[in-house]
Each structure stands twice: as C-alpha cells, then as structure tokens.
C-alpha cells in the first residue's frame, strides 16, 4: 500500500521568513517523483513536513490520507533520507542497520545484502567512513526501510558516478518489486530524469511547475538560425544568444506544426532542451512569473 501525499495551503515559517508559502500539492501513490529546485528554494522544508520532522505553521499535510503530524502508524512507514543519513557517528555500520529495525517494515537481510554489494564494512564506525560511503549507508537504510513513502534528499552527495548508477538501478529494482511512492530531490537532474514519472519544481517557497516528465521534455525547444528569420517567428524567448548573424533562442512552450514548418523552411535548426536547461531557465531569478 503506497502512500498518497496532499498539501493544502501549507505555509512553513522559520521566524518571520516563509520557507514555504501557501503550497498546494498532490502526489499519487506509487509513482517516482523528482523534486527540483535551487538551493534554498524549499525542497528540504517540504520533505521535512512530509516526514513529520517539522510541523507546518499553517495548512494541512496529509500522507496516506491522514494528517501526518504525531501520527506514528503513518510516520513509521515514511522514510526521509537526508544527506549524511542523520547517524550517530560513534556507532558501527552494523549498529546503524540494526537501529533501522524500529521500522515495522525494515528488511534487515536486504540491508546487509546491500551493504555487502556497495562494500560498506559492517564493523567500521560511521565516523571512519568516507563521505561517499556514508551517503551509501544512508541510501542502503532508505532502500531497506521498505517504506510506503521514501524520500531521498540529495543522498547522492559524495557518491562517485558508478555508485550513483548502481544506487539508481537498485532503487528502480526495489520499486518494481514493491510499488511505493518515491521522491528524489537532486541537483543531478539529467542523471535521474529517465527514472521519474513526474517532476515538481519548487522555486522561492512555491510550486513553480508540477507535470509528468513527458510534458517537461516536450516543453522547450531551441531555435538557431539567421537572426532575422528567428525574430520573424515572433516567439517569446526564455533566453537568447547571438553570434554574428546567427541567433539562438530557447522557448518554454512546445512548438506547433506550423511554427516547425516555417522554421524549417527558413533554415532554422530546432533542437531539444534538456530538463536541466529548462529548469535553469524557469528558475532564473531575472525571470518574472512562469
């Protein structure tokens, strides 16, 4: 049974400053979500609310249909894995894994199997682990939690590329074996894009966009060609560059067929915009609205 998530008019303030302002968000059960946002946009605050690490200043946070705050039966089946893993540094890896058993669904055998696979030595103290191994241990605990809502907040930090790749593979395998709701918060956007079903972009404490991945992938385009011809198309550009007589613009909208035909006839090259570039343009602080 995977968990749904519903936020209604949620505001979270630290002192006078609002980390999240009047957020509405609905996540369906059993999908993999990507949570994207610049540093300080409110990603970690949002995840902290879902895990009941924090209580909203106002508004309602529901997980699995129930208010999540001080709701032990729900919270015990929600896992938020943060960078560094929130471990007691003096403990051994083995003790950390055993601590995981406070969750009813924690799979100890699976945790040991993963620790072996990712070469995290059980006898070592957490304080003696490299940053990368520490992140791996956090990821191992997140996977083995077998939670109904599992959230990884920048958990890849310090992992090298082969380890990240192995982690994503394991995450996907675990997800297919046992459907549950997953939220991946990351700055390595293009690296995880293929694993996602939906993408949420948080910007300055608000939900800027929430759509399925295909909508994002079909959203933008770059058009490069003779400057006059590009201008003649009259498209609203997110960004533009000029090199001599050549002009390149990035647009956020999908291009319809007539624009594509006119562009092709005028010798304009149309290219895709990767999710990461689209994200950069959409969250540009010099851009008003979205």
């Amino acid at each position: 049974m995977s968990f749904t998530v519903n936020l209604r008019n949620v505001t979270l303030k630290y002192g006078a400053e609002a980390a999240l302002a009047d957020v509405d968000l609905d996540l369906e059960a059993g999908k993999i979500y990507g949570l994207l946002g610049r540093n300080g946009a409110g990603k970690t605050s949002l995840l902290s609310l879902l895990a009941a690490f924090r209580r909203p200043t106002s508004g309602e946070v529901r997980v699995g249909g129930e208010p999540v705050w001080e709701n032990a039966p729900i919270v015990s089946r929600v896992a938020l894995i943060r960078e560094g893993g929130d471990f007691d540094d003096s403990e051994t890896v083995k003790a950390v894994i055993e601590t995981g058993q406070i969750r009813p669904s924690f799979d100890t055998d699976y945790a040991y199997k993963l620790a072996d696979k990712f070469e995290v030595p059980l006898k070592k103290r957490v304080s003696a682990l490299s940053r990368g191994k520490r992140s791996v241990l956090a990821a191992v605990c997140g996977l083995a939690a077998r939670a109904e809502l599992t959230m990884f907040d920048e958990v890849h930090l310090g992992m090298d590329a082969p380890t990240r790749d192995a982690f994503y593979k394991e995450l996907l395998a675990e997800y297919m074996e046992r459907p549950h709701t997953v939220v991946l918060s990351t700055h390595l956007i293009d690296e995880v894009a293929n694993y996602l079903e939906e993408v949420i972009i948080v910007d300055r404490g608000r939900i800027l966009r929430h759509a399925d991945i295909e909508a994002f992938q079909g959203m933008g385009a770059t058009l490069t060609g003779p400057a006059d011809a590009v201008d003649a198309l009259g498209l609203a550009a997110l960004a533009e560059q000029r090199l001599g007589g050549t002009k390149s613009i990035t647009v956020a909208d999908a291009l319809d067929k007539s624009v594509r035909e006119r562009a092709a006839a005028a010798g304009i090259e149309i290219g895709p915009v990767g999710l990461q570039d689209l994200f950069i343009h959409l969250t540009d602080p010099n851009r008003n609205g979205a």
Binding site: E197, E214, Q217
Partner: protein
C-alpha cells in the same frame, strides 16, 4: 541510448515497430514485459507502459490478460504504410531541403540514387 528530442516512450514504441518490420519480432510473438523494458533501459516502468499503450491503441500489439503482450498478426501490414509515409517525411523532406540550401540539383541526387540501386542489384 536515447536522444532527448523525442519522448522516450515514443522512441521505445518506434524501436518495437522497427523490430517488427525487420523481422526480429514475429507476428504472434511475445514482447518483453514493461518491467523487463524498464530494467533493460533503466527507465521508469510507466514510461515503458506508455509505449505499449500507444502500440495497443494502434493495433500493433495486443494484450492477453495475465499472459503478456503479443505482436498482432497484421502488424507488419499496418506498419508498412506508416513507414513509407514517415520515410518521406523524416528522410526525404529534410534531404530535399538541405540539397536546396547547398545548391545541389535534384537531378544529381536522382542520378546518385540510381547508381546506388544498380550497386545493390
């Protein structure tokens, strides 16, 4: 594996179609499952599912509940006309455009194609 211009589910659907056309998937043959595709390409299973749904809607594949997905008996016929249209749209139209930009007369291209055909025989 994938270019990022076209949605991945469409690229997978196109690839399955190509496999049907070149005979590596036979009519009546079973297609790998959504999860097998997802694991093979390392993509979200919902993405693979979208590809299958599109192919079922087009009558290229059919679903047998609890058993899996199979290639429709007439899939190749259905796809043949489609491939021809797409060949003109995706291959020949840009070719004509680029030739014009480069100042290459179409008669030169026709001569080249005829020579190729001769070489193939």
């Amino acid at each position: 594996m994938f270019d990022d211009g076209t949605p991945i589910y469409r690229q997978i659907a196109d690839q399955i179609k190509a496999e049907i056309m070149n005979g590596s998937l036979e009519p009546g043959g079973k297609v790998m499952s959504t999860n097998q595709y997802a694991a093979f390409y390392q993509i979200n299973p919902a993405t693979a599912q979208k590809a299958f749904r599109e192919l079922v809607d087009e009558g290229v594949l059919y679903k047998q509940r609890g058993v899996g997905m199979f290639v429709a008996d007439d899939a190749r016929d259905r796809l043949a006309a489609d491939f021809r249209d797409r060949f003109f749209e995706r291959v020949l139209a840009p070719l004509v455009r680029e030739a014009r930009q480069a100042g290459i007369p179409l008669t030169d291209i026709i001569d080249y194609l005829k020579a190729q055909e001769g070489a193939l025989q």
